[in-house]
């Protein structure tokens, strides 16, 4: 018997029992809707999170810290030679070292503000490493050969949000009180006042990565080195040409130092981890959704068992007029397959429909929390912006899955039908 005729007969048989067929198909539709909906919505959710992380983590930048982040930072520092060596690695765009002094108080006439750290930087290099964040609200980048210029972070300059006048403006002369840890003759803090001229103040940039420039002030690296009487750096920032290379570059950098001496923060790795976790969560959810398809499969099996019983005589007739067992098998399997295909197609459509509807609802109801912490994101409240993703792969997988489930659960009843003895089947009332 021709396949097209088997399919036609299966189709006729299904359309003759419309309500029963519709309900059976509904089971498959619900299963596929759940799978496609979760896949599409989950993928959209993941892309949104990835986008947020990418904009927040400065993927092109690596941070090199002496010692281990968790075992306590070592007192060791980096030499200019280290920086030179790192800059020779393929794919590295620019390398800059910084030195930091904690506990800073700034005075401008009667006004006093606090800053997390005074950071000694090479301004020309630094602005190339952080072109998106080292942006001036007021004033300009300091001249290179001056050692008494200062750049002030946004929060230091605007300690409270509602205050009208900033702490300082360009060309103001301010006084810094620094707690400097001196190692000689024995380690101790020494409080000293220094006068600086404000070269500029920074725009609000928030906390991408692990540093928040809003709470920092910046002075020339050479000045901090003079204060500490050293030619070294506390931290190194590396900007790479292509973030995809960052893992390899991190390994190359690690190879330059003795084992366990440095920690390199690679933002790409963090994102990959989060991505992996989201992947697992999504697969888990879809596995749960698949259960509904399994239930649909059992429904199909149940209906087909009834159908085989009802049509026992019909099967006997078909066999009596010369239908082979595999023709009967084919007819019943074709019915199961059609249920799978129709249910799958409808399910894919409703699945994407559902995910778009849910995305719209979630986007209008959920706003990520904005709090006045140091980890605040810079811009105005961002809405959750999930765009469901249409994935041809998932669509095909879902369809194939639907058909496979239907065929598997249809197999037993179909085999039962095909193995009926024609004489007994004809006698069946």
């Amino acid at each position: 018997m021709r396949l097209s005729r088997i399919l036609t007969m299966a189709w006729e048989s299904l359309t003759q029992r419309k309500l029963r067929t519709s309900l059976t198909i509904l089971g498959v539709v619900i299963g596929i809707t759940a799978i496609i909906g979760l896949a599409s919505l989950g993928e959209g959710f993941r892309l949104d999170i990835r986008k947020r992380m990418q904009s927040g983590f400065e993927l092109d930048n690596l941070t090199i810290i002496p010692g281990s982040l968790f075992a306590g930072l070592s007192r060791e520092r980096f030499t200019d030679e280290d920086i030179q060596n790192i800059s020779k690695i393929l794919g590295v765009k620019i390398v800059t070292g910084i030195m930091q002094i904690g506990n800073v108080t700034l005075y401008n006439g009667s006004k006093t503000v606090q800053a997390f750290v005074a950071t000694g930087v090479n301004f020309t290099e630094f602005i190339q490493v952080f072109p998106d964040r080292f942006v001036f609200e007021n004033g300009t980048i300091p001249e290179e050969d001056r050692n008494d210029t200062i750049v002030i972070g946004y929060k230091v300059n605007h300690p409270t949000e509602n205050e009208t006048a900033p702490f300082a403006g360009a060309n103001d002369t301010i006084t810094l009180t620094l707690q400097v840890l001196l190692k000689t003759p024995f380690p101790h803090y020494e409080q000293t006042d220094y006068n600086f001229t404000v070269a500029g103040t920074l725009r609000k940039t928030g906390t991408p990565g692990i540093t928040n420039f809003d709470y920092w002030i910046f002075i020339p690296l050479e000045t901090t080195r003079e204060i500490y009487d050293t030619q070294e750096s506390d931290l190194i920032f590396v900007r790479v040409y292509n973030s995809e290379d960052s893992e390899r570059i991190a390994k190359d950098i690690e190879a330059l130092f003795p084992p366990f001496r440095i920690t390199i923060l690679v933002p790409l790795m963090l994102i990959k981890q989060v991505d992996n976790i989201l992947n697992i969560v999504q697969l888990f959810l879809m596995a749960i959704a698949s259960i509904s398809l399994l239930v649909a499969g059992i429904g199909i099996m149940n209906i087909m068992m009834v159908s085989v019983m009802e049509r026992t005589r019909e099967i006997g007739i078909l066999k009596a007029v010369g239908a082979k067992s595999r023709t009967v098998l084919g007819m019943f399997l074709a019915e199961a397959m059609l249920i799978g295909i129709i249910g799958g197609l409808i399910g894919v459509l409703t699945g994407y429909g559902l995910s778009y509807a849910l995305a719209l609802m979630l986007s209008s109801f959920i706003h990520p929390q904005q709090q006045g912490t140091t980890f605040q994101t810079p811009e105005a409240p961002q809405r959750l912006n999930i765009t469901p993703v249409f994935s041809p792969e998932w669509t095909v997988i879902a369809l194939v899955f639907a058909v496979i489930i239907c065929v598997i659960f249809g197999l037993y009843p179909a085999r039962k039908a095909s193995r009926l003895n024609p004489v007994e089947a004809l006698r069946y009332e």
Binding site: M1, E12, A320, G322, S325, P422, L426
Partner: protein
């Protein structure tokens, strides 16, 4: 004349719970090409069992059945189905039409199974329906047809593949006497026109007498075989 059907010492028993009930206890007969044969006997004599075996719907426990040279005991299930499809036509007491299909679709069924292209199959089916006098009822479903009409559809279905042998199991058993007789007449006519072999099982002596030969069956054994003079009652 060529022997089309050769049944040799066929035995068949059914298991009813723990008891083995013999239905046929060694039956032998043959049928020639173009012959009209009836198997006559009371109910429980094994008539239907014999017909099922001859038609390849079931297999004998012992003995040999040759249809047009092929031993059905040696055929695989698929080959047996193919034999039923190409060489055998069945007519049943309860018509056994598919209720959801029209008369035409019922008749087309064996051709569909045989893979005959749809257009050609429909032409053939219409031709056969015309032959059994139902050209005006092709698009009716079985429930819209009388018993006699349904049996004509069943006959058309049995004949549509041009089988060598037509097997009828009590074809008049569910019809009134007049209609039953008409059906028998139709079978005789087709038998004469197309030279197809007919084996008809009946418990109606009147119908049995319409045959070329009558085989009397009782308790699973052949009691006698009678060459009958053709009778054509009008």
């Amino acid at each position: 004349m060529k022997t089309l059907l050769d049944v040799h010492d066929v035995k068949k028993a059914y298991r009813m719970g723990k008891v083995l009930v013999p239905a046929l206890r060694g039956v032998s007969f043959d049928a020639e090409e173009g012959e009209f044969l009836t198997i006559f006997g009371p109910s429980g004599s094994g008539k239907s069992t014999l017909l099922h075996l001859v038609g390849g719907l079931d297999r004998p426990d012992e003995g040999e059945i040759l249809i047009d040279g092929s031993n059905i005991l040696k055929l695989s299930d698929d080959k047996l189905a193919e034999l039923r499809l190409t060489k055998i036509g069945f007519v049943f007491q309860f018509f056994n039409l598919l209720p959801r299909l029209t008369a035409l679709k019922n008749v087309v069924l064996p051709l569909t199974i045989a893979g005959v292209p749809e257009k050609e199959a429909l032409e053939q089916a219409k031709e056969i329906l015309r032959l059994v006098g139902l050209e005006a009822r092709t698009n009716h479903r079985p429930s819209e047809l009388s018993g006699g009409e349904q049996q004509r559809v069943a006959m058309a279905r049995a004949l549509v593949n041009s089988p060598k042998i037509v097997l009828a199991d009590e074809p008049t058993g569910n019809l009134d006497t007049k209609t039953g007789w008409e059906i028998v007449q139709l079978m005789r006519k087709l038998n004469e026109d197309k030279r197809q072999t007919f084996v008809v099982v009946t418990h109606d002596p009147h119908i049995a007498e319409a045959a070329d030969r009558i085989i009397y069956l009782k308790d699973g054994l052949i009691e006698g075989i009678k060459e009958a003079p053709r009778r054509n009652k009008q």
